[in-house]
């Protein structure tokens, strides 16, 4: 029954395999109209070099399929310009978040924008943040032209408001941390110069002078660079907790005060170099960790995701529409929403009927018919015809807006987790304090104040928790880097520790364990002649190509994978009956495709020729290839698995049984607000999902993973997301987290031994500042070595 598959043709723009060829005059084939137009723009503007640069990078351009052509007229609205642009000396600049930027060639092309669009002076891209800043001369407000050009090149630009305090704060914070590190490094190296001379035997005036110089250089370290430690320590103490920064701050402050006193008293014992080194190393390791985290995808400003796509608003008292952004809408406005557009507000349909996909809110895979007067919700997808909607709620007042507010405000509602470093710090601080008091009293009683201070200081400095302060952030950042290299993005370090203790794993159904869209799973021809079959296939292809319905798209895709020589035949009297199918005449023969949703998780599509059934297809939201193996592996490691879905019971039960979930662990028809209630009942839970309806559950679970292709809201609320379309990465993430915790435990054990030896030497008076200055970096280096060895690439991969 198989039809031969021809050799694959590659798209001249993106290199994807071509299913339905689009060809230009030069004989180049493209996978879609979008790729063809990008190719033509580049040829016309003499920018063919794009392809040369792209060849040299490992990356390849993404196909620009499904890119909507937008007008961006609202960008030139004066009010809009005021809110969204920066005015610098006669130039206006606006920043856009660009979707689709990924390689060197993109960078090259985007910064060539002044050559493509008149009036654009400057175009600057920040690849890390996917932000492009476009500058124009004032008075020539043509941001819409620039945005349109970017759009036609295959990138999706979203304007970013200039009033983003949050972004500025983040930038300030990062800069100030960098300054603190730089100053600590400067002081550290200079102090070493002088203390080194003292250790080497500088005497008399030099010894005194060098002491004062070191004191002077240590002041910026203690009073500026180390501020983050104090802040975090005070914060922890206020909450009646102890964290790693408490002992760190103690060592730094106590070490500084006593050392200063000793300098004034002209004694040799001072630890300025150790204090500066400690501060520098720990700040540096924290900076590296910060850089490893994915900050661009944080949970701030979630609502803006749904406000980026522009919409059309009816101009008062006229029949015309203007393009606006959803946050400019007001209740009582009338908006027009076309096919495949996202609904920009909550409201009521006042003109037309359509089918709407509610999966953003409910997770339901099938679209639902909406007639006149039906209530529609922001963020859902209009799949059918163009409708006009009377706005009744906008932005934060909408149902999705409320859900998002709940997500943003429920930051600290997660079960309090006892992190290993905090646990250890607690005992550690009490022990060091106790020991220090004993040592101080003992020597005070036996000798004098100065002598007892010397011993106590040596003890405090030597037992400073280097392993915890330095190795833990380094381990986490190494693990994050490793994860990223293998397509797994971990956003925070506590997610790693939480993940290592997971016992219960909850899965969403649609889009997570299943593919999320309908695919042809069975087909049957009612003729055995293979030439007839090809003709039927071609007719089916031609009819369905005209429709935008997701089922039609799947059928077209299926047809072309069977035979890639299908042509669009000429159709006469073509008609699409919404939600029912398509019909039309081909060469005087009447053909009709009727699609019926059985409501049992699959769709039947039948092709009738002159009323006689000729080809029958069955489409269903199929279980992903790797779902079985992933679940099997997880169950093999004694994790309990659950299925939680908002979809219909019959569909969920079928998938659940197919994937061998225990019947009592299958939950169906769960609304988004209730998903979190199920999870709350269990401890050490991991939630794997992909839809906006999973976001609230993400907040309640100890760890959340968003699968590849998740909606952006999900990516932002999750702790971890899969950068590649492989469910097995879930197993890998657990392996990684366990390894991270193992390395941290090894380091802890090692530093415990080190500290016991160091402390006993300090107590008995064998250790002075010179020995401390040598021991500290050695212990740091050893721990660094252990960390790097255990997190090297090969080791971790071998286990997955």
């Amino acid at each position: 029954m198989k039809i031969t598959i021809e050799a694959q043709v590659q798209c001249s723009h993106c290199g994807d395999k071509v299913v339905t060829p689009f060809e230009d005059e030069g004989g180049h084939s493209f996978c879609c109209q979008g790729c063809m137009s990008v190719y033509q723009i580049l040829q016309q503007s003499n920018l063919q070099q794009f392809y040369n640069i792209q060849e040299k990078t490992d990356d390849y351009t993404r196909s620009v399929k499904n890119l909507k052509n937008k007008e961006f007229k609202y960008l030139d609205n004066l009010k809009f310009i005021e809110k969204y642009t920066h005015d610098i000396e006669g130039f206006l600049s606006m920043s856009f978040y660009l979707q689709g930027v990924h390689c060197l060639a993109c960078l090259w092309l985007i910064e060539k924008l002044p050559e493509l669009v008149e009036n654009v002076m400057h175009s600057r891209l920040d690849m890390g943040k996917s932000l492009v800043t476009i500058t124009l001369r004032k008075g020539e407000n043509s941001f819409s032209a620039a945005a349109k050009c970017l759009n036609s090149l295959g990138y999706d630009p979203y304007p970013i408001s200039n009033q983003t305090e949050l972004k500025e704060n983040q930038q300030k914070e990062e800069r100030s941390l960098l300054l603190k590190i730089g100053i600590a490094a400067f002081s550290m190296m200079n102090i070493m110069l002088y203390t080194g001379s003292v250790y080497a035997g500088a005497k008399g005036l030099f010894q005194v002078g060098f002491g004062y110089l070191s004191l002077l250089l240590a002041i910026p370290v203690v009073f500026y660079s180390a501020i983050p430690f104090y802040k975090s320590a005070i914060g922890a103490i206020k909450n009646k907790k102890v964290n790693i920064d408490v002992p760190l701050s103690l060592s730094i402050i106590f070490g500084f005060i006593v050392s200063s006193v000793f300098v004034v008293l002209q004694k040799e014992e001072f630890y300025f170099d150790s204090i500066a080194t400690l501060t520098f190393l720990i700040l540096l390791s924290r900076y590296i960790l910060k850089k490893a985290q994915q900050k661009s995808l944080n949970k701030n400003d979630l609502l803006s995701i749904f406000q980026r796509e522009s919409t059309y608003r009816k101009i008062f008292n006229t029949e015309n529409f203007e393009e606006v952004l959803p946050d400019q809408l007001n209740p009582e406005d009338i908006v027009r929403v076309g096919a495949n557009e996202i609904i920009p507000c909550d409201g009521e349909i006042i003109k037309g009927t359509t089918r709407i996909n509610l999966s953003t809110l409910t997770g339901e895979s099938q679209s639902i018919f909406h007639g006149l007067k039906s209530q529609v919700y922001m963020g859902t997808l209009n799949l059918g015809d163009t409708v006009e909607i009377l706005v009744n709620k906008t932005n934060q007042q909408t149902r999705i807006g409320q859900l998002l507010l709940k997500i943003q405000n429920e930051k600290s509602e997660r079960s309090q987790y006892n992190f290993i470093t905090d646990k250890v710090s607690k005992y550690f601080v009490s022990l060091v304090l106790l020991l220090a008091t004993i040592v101080f009293c003992y020597y005070l009683f036996k000798t004098d104040l100065v002598n007892s201070l010397e011993h106590t200081l040596a003890l405090v400095i030597v037992t400073c928790p280097c392993a915890l302060g330095l190795a833990t952030p380094l381990t986490f950042s190494r693990i994050m880097a490793l994860a990223q290299r293998n397509g797994l993005i971990i956003k925070s370090e506590d997610a790693i520790e939480r993940l290592s203790n997971i016992k219960n794993i909850f899965f969403d159904k649609t889009g997570t364990l299943t593919t999320g869209n309908y695919q042809v799973t069975e087909f049957e021809y009612f003729t055995s002649r293979s030439d007839q079959q090809i003709i039927l296939l071609n007719i089916l292809f031609s009819l369905e190509s005209k429709s935008n319905h997701p089922v039609a798209l799947s059928i077209v895709k299926w047809c072309s994978t069977h035979n890639n020589h299908l042509k669009n035949l000429q159709l006469i009297n073509f008609e699409e009956v919404l939600g029912k199918g398509v019909k039309g005449f081909v060469e005087d023969q009447y053909y009709e495709v009727s699609t019926t949703d059985t409501g049992k998780g699959y769709v039947n599509a039948n092709l009738y020729k002159n009323g006689e059934k000729a080809l029958s297809l069955k489409l269903s939201d199929d279980i992903r290839n790797d779902s079985h193996i992933t679940l099997e592996k997880l169950r093999g490691q004694h994790f309990k698995t659950f299925l939680v879905s908002g979809d219909k019971d019959s569909v969920v039960q079928k998938v659940g049984k197919g994937l061998l979930f225990e019947p009592e662990n299958i939950h169906s028809e769960v609304p988004p607000e209730k998903k979190s209630l199920i999870i709350e009942k269990y401890q050490n839970s991991l939630f794997v999902g992909d839809g906006a309806n999973d976001s609230l559950a993400f907040k309640k679970a100890d760890v959340s993973i968003a699968t590849h292709g998740s909606v952006e809201m999900c990516l932002r609320t999750s702790d971890i997301f899969l950068g590649e379309d492989k469910l097995e990465l879930i197993n890998y993430s657990i392996v990684l987290s366990k390894r991270a915790m193992k390395v941290i435990r090894i380091n802890l054990g090692f530093s415990l031994i080190y500290n016991i030896i160091g402390a006993s030497l300090a107590i008995t008076g064998f250790i002075g500042p010179l020995e401390a200055a040598i021991i500290m970096p050695i212990s740091s280096l050893t721990i660094l070595g252990i960390t790097l060895y255990h997190t090297r690439n090969g080791v971790t991969l071998g286990n997955s």
Binding site: L104, D126, G128, R175, N190
Partner: protein
Amino acid sequence: MESRLEILNILIPMALFLGSFFVFLFIWATKSGQYDDLDTPSKRMLLEDEVDLKE
């Protein structure tokens, strides 16, 4: 002995002065945003070279 070390009277202030000079340069560079984007400039540099070669 003392006389040979007199050079330190010049060297130490000089070292401190030079050091602080570079610290101020560093502070200026950070505050003017030169360390904000560490990914793109390294790539951009590669590109401009290629364009020049062609021209």
